[in-house]
Amino acid sequence: MKTEKLSQMATAEEVIEAVAEFSREAHSFYTDLVPKVTKDIRYLVEDLARAELAHVRMLSDLMKSPDMRDHLKDAIRRPEADRRFSDAVQAPELGDKPDDQQVLQYALAREQVALEEFSELAANTPPGLLHEVFSFLANEETRQKADLEALYYEIVHSGGV
């Protein structure tokens, strides 16, 4: 599985499936984390889990859409970011009792990877449905990352008295 992903070309189905997998992993990671963190910051982990789940659903709906079905077998260039993307799936660098700042930093790092992945995919696909889909997903990630950044600033950089 891993070696396949590393090959130069892949089908759209493969790429999107990999992305969905990435989100699925994240979702279960956050879900597992929920009971481990103290209640005051649990909202954060729950929010992140919810966001990932929404992602998974969105991608699965995408695969099922009739327009998309015709393009699933299209060959596309696998992005460079994919390697780090895969690493992120494999190696969550978060301790057992993380605080809010750690959770946020972790989530930001993941968003960054996803963002780069989609941006590259969008750049690699010629204008058309797939291009639009990846552009949309890239925008989606940008928005989510911006939300997280703002939250990070609010929580960590409150500015002081």
Binding site: T38, K39, D40, I41, R42, Y43, L44, D100, Q101, Q102, Q105, A146, E149, A150, Y152, Y153, E154, I155, V156, H157, S158, G159, G160, V161
Partner: protein, 604 residues
């Protein structure tokens, strides 16, 4: 009989018969002079609804009527003019605090409905709304003072080697002039978190009645001496005077009142609780502004209040966060003495969660108020922050106040652009000056100067004291020596330039220019980026039982948590600000008091 000339010369008047008439054939529509005082215009975006126009109108021609919802610094009211009364004197234009109210040069208008001549300029559309011509007062407003009385301060060289208070305080003459500028619109009252009766106490200064002034202060704020020095003075951002001049120095005037009432007299005026003891007990965790304000209110209601404080002196962040040169400890002590005089017991050096558990507090009291403040300094957690030579500002400030020995290297780097960053930078600068005879402090902030979080005066004073401030730098790594006899020690901070910090929606989205990398040499790095509350004192069970709202204790408008016996107030709930904490203390005390009262009714 006169001469023939006397008979004939009057007939020269006949020559006018062949002249063109001088009267205007159609006087309706004749344009008035450029500066004519005709019907009013009001730029309602600029207007703040302060009502000065109404106050000055000697004909009572102006009513202030609601046009939009009030917001900070704008009452949402706008002047409605009754032209049956207006005498076109334009004093309303001259006094207008924003310059929004003007007069067009339109003066002819015929209507059979007398009520048509009552309208809200700028809101009820009129043909002259956009006329450029009409009465505009010359220069700025001249009927109320526009410039703030300058505050006397220690010169930088006189203050840099000590922690003496910098601000001198107004003399009576200065205060009188400054107080005179207030137009008593009261827009500030809504903005002040504690809704202090600002125009009233400023009026007391004008009357020279400091006893009355103090009494007014204590009605809303038992920390007036503290707030008179370090308040974030949000009120001044809502001041009507700021639109065409300086806002009234509300904070300094508050301080001026307290400065002019002796400690003994203050105790006399405030007095002690005038009610019988209720035998209800309240425990308050944390002797900061919120906790002590709540204690003050509850004690005056007759309840037995004990405040538990982890540090060995009360005051919380006011003592341990704010440097002495901004807030002398004696000033804080005087405010606290009045609170203690209400019978409030303050147990210092008692750490809840250690010496006493929350459970015990709950068991022994009718109500518990949690006002623990934000005492954990956040770290950027960039590489290199772990290990010696990296401190948090909050911790350092506390140790300086406590008189502990702190490391004072020759070169210190501070990360952060808020007031805490300035506090620690200036404190370290003083210690350096004493120890090394020279200041070596660099502050790097993510924000550029245009978006700085610290107050302008803090920045200016820091610069005067020789602190170097570099804006728009993103910290990347605390660099440590990799070898040599200083191996592992801090070498400096590596930073990237921040090209923009907020996106076009004003949200945090830092963009770095990695090509613009710098190493700021320093032997110590101090992080002053943000603070958190130490909620671990609640214990696991209580933490789990309580409702939370995005990282903070969920409380109702009155500060009550999901546990009916527990209230929370202050910085930990509403963010770091003394006056907000005071307001919070009042709010919580009212809610606790109401509950205790209800308990009393039931017991009876």
């Amino acid at each position: 009989m006169g001469s023939l000339r006397d008979v004939l010369s009057p007939f020269t008047a006949w020559k006018h018969v062949i002249e063109t008439p001088v009267t205007i054939r159609n006087p309706i529509g004749r344009e008035a002079a450029d500066g004519y005082r005709g019907f009013h215009q009001n730029d309602i975006e600029k207007c703040i609804g302060c009502g000065s126009c109404e106050v000055i109108c000697q004909n009572a021609a102006i009513d202030m009527v609601p046009v939009s919802d009030p917001v900070d610094g704008d009452s949402g009211l706008r002047p409605k003019i009754d032209y049956g009364r207006c005498c076109w004197c334009a004093l309303c234009v001259d006094v207008c605090m924003t310059g929004s109210l003007t007069m067009s040069n339109e003066y002819t208008w015929v209507d059979t409905d007398p009520d048509a001549f009552r309208f809200i300029p700028g809101v009820d559309p009129k043909p002259w709304d956009d006329l450029e011509k009409g009465y505009r007062r010359e220069g700025g407003r001249v009927l109320t003072g526009a410039e703030r009385v300058e505050m006397g301060e220690l010169a930088p060289e006189a203050r840099i080697d000590n922690f003496d208070e910098i601000v001198a305080g107004y003399t009576r003459e200065q205060a009188m002039i400054e107080a005179d500028r207030c137009v008593e619109c009261g827009l500030c009252v809504a903005t002040c978190p504690a809704h202090m009766d600002i125009p009233d106490y400023i009026a007391a200064i004008r009357e020279g009645d400091y006893d009355l002034g103090l009494q007014i202060l204590y009605e809303t704020n038992p920390f007036s001496e503290v707030c008179g020095r370090v308040c974030t003075h949000k009120c001044e951002t809502a001041c009507a005077a700021r639109h065409e001049g300086d806002p009234i120095a509300i904070r300094w005037l508050k301080r001026h009142i307290v400065d002019n009432v002796s400690e003994d007299r203050r105790l006399e005026i405030v007095g002690t609780p005038q009610t019988l003891p209720t035998r209800r007990k309240v425990a308050i965790v944390g002797a900061g502004p919120a906790g002590l304000t709540a204690a003050y209110d509850l004690a005056r209601q007759g309840h037995a209040v004990t405040v538990y404080e982890a540090q060995d002196k009360p005051g919380g962040m006011m003592r341990f966060g704010i440097p002495e040169y901004r807030l002398p400890y004696a000033a804080l002590d005087r405010d606290i003495a009045v609170i203690a005089a209400q019978g409030v017991k303050i147990e210092t050096g008692v750490r809840i969660g250690h010496e006493i558990t929350m459970d015990r507090l709950r068991a022994e009291n009718d109500a518990v108020v949690l006002s623990i403040g934000l005492h954990i300094g956040r770290s950027t957690r960039i590489p290199g922050t772990e290990g010696g030579g990296v401190e948090t500002a909050i911790d350092l400030l506390r140790r300086i106040t406590a008189g502990e020995e702190v490391p004072v290297p020759k070169q210190v780097l501070v990360i952060g652009g808020g007031n805490v960053a300035m506090d620690i930078a200036r404190s370290m600068a003083r210690l350096q000056k004493v120890k090394h005879g020279a200041v070596g402090v660099t502050v790097t902030a993510l924000e550029d100067f245009a978006h700085f979080l610290a107050d302008r005066e803090e920045i200016e004073e820091s610069l005067e004291e020789g602190v170097e401030i570099i804006d728009a730098r993103g910290p990347q790594e605390v660099v440590r020596f990799k070898s040599g006899n200083r191996k592992g020690e801090v070498k400096g901070l590596r930073s990237w330039a921040v090209t923009s910090i907020f996106d076009d929606k004003g949200r945090f989205a830092p963009q770095y220019d990695q090509g613009d990398e710098r190493l700021h040499p320093a032997e110590m790095v101090v992080e002053a980026i943000g603070q958190a509350a130490d909620v671990s004192i609640l214990g696991e069970d209580l933490t789990e039982a309580l409702d939370w709202n995005r990282g903070r204790l969920a409380v109702d408008v009155a500060g009550r948590t999901s546990e009916p016996w527990l209230w929370a107030a202050g910085d930990a709930v509403h963010g770091p600000d003394v006056i907000t904490a005071v307001a919070d203390g009042h709010r919580v005390a009212a809610s606790v008091g109401a509950m205790l009262m209800a308990m009393g009714e039931v017991a009876r």
